[in-house]
């Protein structure tokens, strides 16, 4: 008996591997082979010698990230914004998903869905112009229409850093909440409806159903999304932090992230060794964070860990 079940297991494993093979092959070619380029971060690139022939330079390319008094500011900004996005973003997306799942039988849910995804389709460059349309000191809608009507003085938005954390968070929520909610909508739709029936028979009200059934059922998805976002904790959306503030120097203290600093700094004098080093730095930290977080999750609920 055991021999044939071992054979069955082996056949099953073979079959499953065969199915995974095309995808793994793609990952190998598209992602893993080019990873050899990581060595560029450790080389002093001289084009005459080519990237393969250039000299090694240890960690020199990483120095510029730390040799600036801005290092703390850019890391703080990147991390704080990302944590806020993860927290608020998840709350918003789940909230919208729950609402959307309520009204699927109505025609207007189609309209809502399309409308909520729309912001995600607009590129950040255009979003920057939209924000500018609202906030520019002379002709902006906020200064003219809104503040004027309320009898308040116009604000010079692009030179006042204080408002921008809020502005950027709002912009990011506007752009991504609808899109992120799709994942949760799909998850909710896969929840066994029988659970709700049973709860209803037990006399549970709507809110109770949400808190006792929907949210716990969403937990695996939420955990997965959060873990994945942690991996990118040190990266940022370049368009959001560079273009939306219109590259305004006065706002650097609250809008400078690692990515914008690297871009600005390396535009003229930098070389690909340095930009590669910056990217590697962000990846390594993100990776360490995920490993730790995943280990914690695995200890508590092994099923929901990423790996």
């Amino acid at each position: 008996m055991t021999k044939s079940s071992k054979k069955r297991t082996r056949n099953k494993n073979l079959a499953l591997f065969a199915m995974a093979a095309p995808g793994l092959l793609y990952l190998l070619i598209n992602n893993y082979i080019p990873m050899f380029g990581i060595f560029i971060a450790f080389k002093q690139i001289d084009y005459a010698k080519g990237i393969f022939g250039s000299d090694w330079c240890g960690f020199d390319n990483f120095k510029f990230l730390f040799q600036t008094k801005d290092a703390w500011i850019m890391v703080r900004n990147t991390v704080l914004y990302n944590l806020t996005f993860i927290l608020l973003g998840t709350i918003f997306a789940v909230f919208i998903a729950i609402l959307m799942s309520e009204i699927t039988k109505y025609f207007c849910s189609k309209l809502f869905q399309a409308g909520l995804i729309l912001p995600n389709l607009v590129s950040m460059v255009i979003v920057a112009y939209l924000v500018y349309a609202f906030l520019n000191p002379e002709t902006g809608l906020v200064n003219n229409a809104i503040l004027g009507a309320l009898g308040k003085d116009p604000v010079n938005w692009y030179t006042t850093p204080g408002y921008w954390p809020v502005i950027l968070v709002l912009v990011q929520m506007w752009k991504s909440a609808g899109y992120s909610s799709i994942v949760y909508i799909a998850s909710i739709s896969g929840i066994d409806k029988g659970l709700y029936e049973a709860a209803r028979l037990d006399g549970a009200g709507k809110l109770q159903q949400v808190f006792k059934i929907t949210l716990p059922q969403l937990k695996p998805t939420i955990i997965m999304m959060v873990l994945m976002s942690l991996g990118r904790l040190f990266s940022s959306d370049f368009g959001l932090f560079y273009q939306v503030p219109m590259n305004s120097g006065a706002l650097f203290d609250v809008t400078q992230t690692i990515d914008t600093y690297v871009y600005r700094g390396l535009m003229t004098y930098g070389n690909i060794g340095m930009s590669s080093a910056a990217g590697l730095f962000q990846s390594v930290i993100g990776f360490a964070l995920v490993m730790v977080a995943n280990a914690i999750v695995r200890k508590k609920e092994a099923e929901n860990a990423l790996f």
Partner: protein
């Protein structure tokens, strides 16, 4: 599953369509290269040319025509051109990628010459120039002066060939003639930027909705031009202005700590507070041409080439389709170490450098080759009403003609050989503008090239600091009394003193070597 089957057939149909598509993706210009002579010795030279016109799907007929001509007229050269037109959006990325990945690219135009040289992207072609490039070398020395190659020369190595054009660009004020008349001021009374404040006061009083000044360059009021022209500042090859020299003092200073910088910032601040300029100048992407088009601009200034010190016409008129603007020089041109920063170079990993230099020599010296690159095929793409004028054929324009690259006239070859699109008179004016190169005032340090490799980390930090404070200061929206001390402190924290010291060291060495 029926649905599965129909989906599958749809997918197969699409895959079929795809394979049909994969056939028509071949590079358009590759066929032209080997056409000449069929000789096994003919070497193909790939030139990446930045173009501001539309890129046709297929322009192999142009390259074929050029190569046929080269094979006939220069049979001993055994070279052929493989022209690649690339738009400005991806030009920089494409040349860097070509170099990094080893794709063949022999001739290109670095958009950031000093950095490219510092990173060894340009090959030293001095020996090839001696053998194969004498025509272009003598042409440049004739039109520019014997120091034509100075900014491209380091320690005897020559890294490229300058584009032979009028380098003298004068800071030119463009002003609305009617508005100026109506406040009773004559243009003769305006001779420098310091005369403008009074005029602006009058204009503002009469035309409250008009901006007396709006920037030509986004988030920048071009005080750099005035610092060069009026105060004889030499940037010493660096766009952060953290290490500059005034006149012939030989002493490198941090621009932002000087009085010269302060006086311009104060001027701009006064304009800002008086409302002469858009209040969002420091962050806006709207520039003078846009304001001019909506009739809300009185003046702006920028540097243009040209011979007319004063004129009833202005570059801005091309935009408004009126002749509302006149122009006048308000400062002079100072040829500093970054002035000839456009050149065509051979990439450092090119496998055919001799052929590249030979071909470049032909482009510089042969009128037909150069103008075919710019204008295409006679009859199809252009007609020639006179010796030096080429225009679109009847009924066609830049968007409908099969091939044109006429906007490349500033980035390739020699302007003295290029045809113009307007009139013989303009052609003569161009020649005069080129003449001016020789007599232009040069900085005593012309030819000095700064090697930033020892201070790269400081430069990246400084670039960020400068970007933080510079626009606000030069556009007048920051209060200089508060902002400048902050700025200087931030610069010091980022290592500006190290950079200044390094520049001084290199400058002293250069002065000693070039006495």
């Amino acid at each position: 599953m029926k649905k599965g089957k129909s989906l599958l057939s749809l997918f197969l149909a699409l895959a079929l369509a795809l394979t049909a598509f994969s056939g028509c993706g071949s590079k358009s210009a590759s066929s032209g290269a080997a056409a000449s002579g069929g000789s096994a010795e003919t070497q193909k030279v790939v030139m990446y040319l930045i173009t501001f016109n539309n890129i046709p799907d297929d322009y192999s007929q142009v390259t074929d025509a050029i190569n046929k001509y080269i094979a006939e007229k220069y049979p001993d050269a055994h070279v052929a051109l493989d022209l690649r037109l690339i738009g400005p959006a991806d030009y920089n990325d494409k040349i860097k990628l070509a170099m990094q990945s080893g794709t063949q690219m022999d001739l290109f135009i670095p958009l950031d010459l000093q950095t490219f040289i510092a990173q060894n992207m340009c090959m030293d072609i001095s020996s090839y120039l001696d053998q194969y490039g004498q025509d272009m070398v003598s042409m440049i020395k004739k039109d520019f002066g014997t120091d034509g190659f100075s900014t491209l020369t380091q320690n005897g190595a020559i890294y490229g060939v300058p584009i032979n054009k009028a380098v003298v660009i004068n800071p030119t004020l463009s002003y609305n003639k009617e508005m100026l008349d109506s406040v009773g001021v004559s243009i003769d009374d305006i001779n420098s930027i310091w005369d403008l404040s009074d005029v602006y006061a009058k204009i503002k009083a009469k035309y409250p909705d008009v901006y007396c000044y709006a920037p030509t360059n986004q988030q920048d009021t071009y005080i750099s031009l005035l610092l060069e022209g009026d105060d004889k500042m030499d940037r010493l090859g660096d766009t952060t202005y953290t290490g500059v020299v005034f006149g012939d003092s030989g002493k490198v200073v941090n621009l932002y700590e000087t009085d010269q910088f302060r006086k311009y910032v104060d001027l701009m601040r006064s304009w800002y507070l008086a409302g002469y300029v858009p209040q969002d100048m420091a962050t806006s992407t709207t520039t003078a041409p846009a304001y001019a088009q909506s009739g809300r601009l009185f003046s702006t200034y920028a540097s243009y080439s040209g011979v007319d010190k004063q004129s009833d016409n202005s570059v801005l008129n091309q935009l408004t389709n009126t002749d509302a603007f006149g122009s006048k020089w308000i400062s002079s041109f100072y040829m500093d170490t970054m002035s000839t920063s456009l050149a065509m170079c051979v990439s450092s990993n090119s496998k055919v450098p001799e052929a590249a230099v030979k071909l470049l020599n032909i482009v510089y010296s042969d009128e037909f080759v150069l103008n075919t690159i710019l204008f295409g095929i006679e009859g199809e793409d252009y007609v020639k009403p006179s010796d030096h004028v080429a225009q679109f054929p009847e009924g066609l324009d830049a968007n409908t003609v099969p091939y044109t690259a006429y906007l490349c006239n500033g980035v390739i070859g020699s302007e003295s050989l290029q045809w113009v699109t307007t009139s013989e008179e303009d052609y003569q004016k161009k020649l005069q503008a080129i003449e001016m190169n020789k007599s232009a005032e040069r900085s005593p340090y012309y030819g000095f090239v700064f090697d930033a490799s020892n201070v790269v980390n400081e430069m990246t930090a400084l670039t960020n600091v400068v970007k933080q404070y510079y626009p606000g200061l030069v556009c007048g929206s920051l209060d200089p009394d508060e902002a400048i001390p902050e700025f200087i402190k931030a610069l010091k924290d980022a290592g500006v003193d190290t950079v200044v010291a390094e520049k001084q060291k290199q400058l002293d060495a250069w002065i000693a070597a070039n006495q």
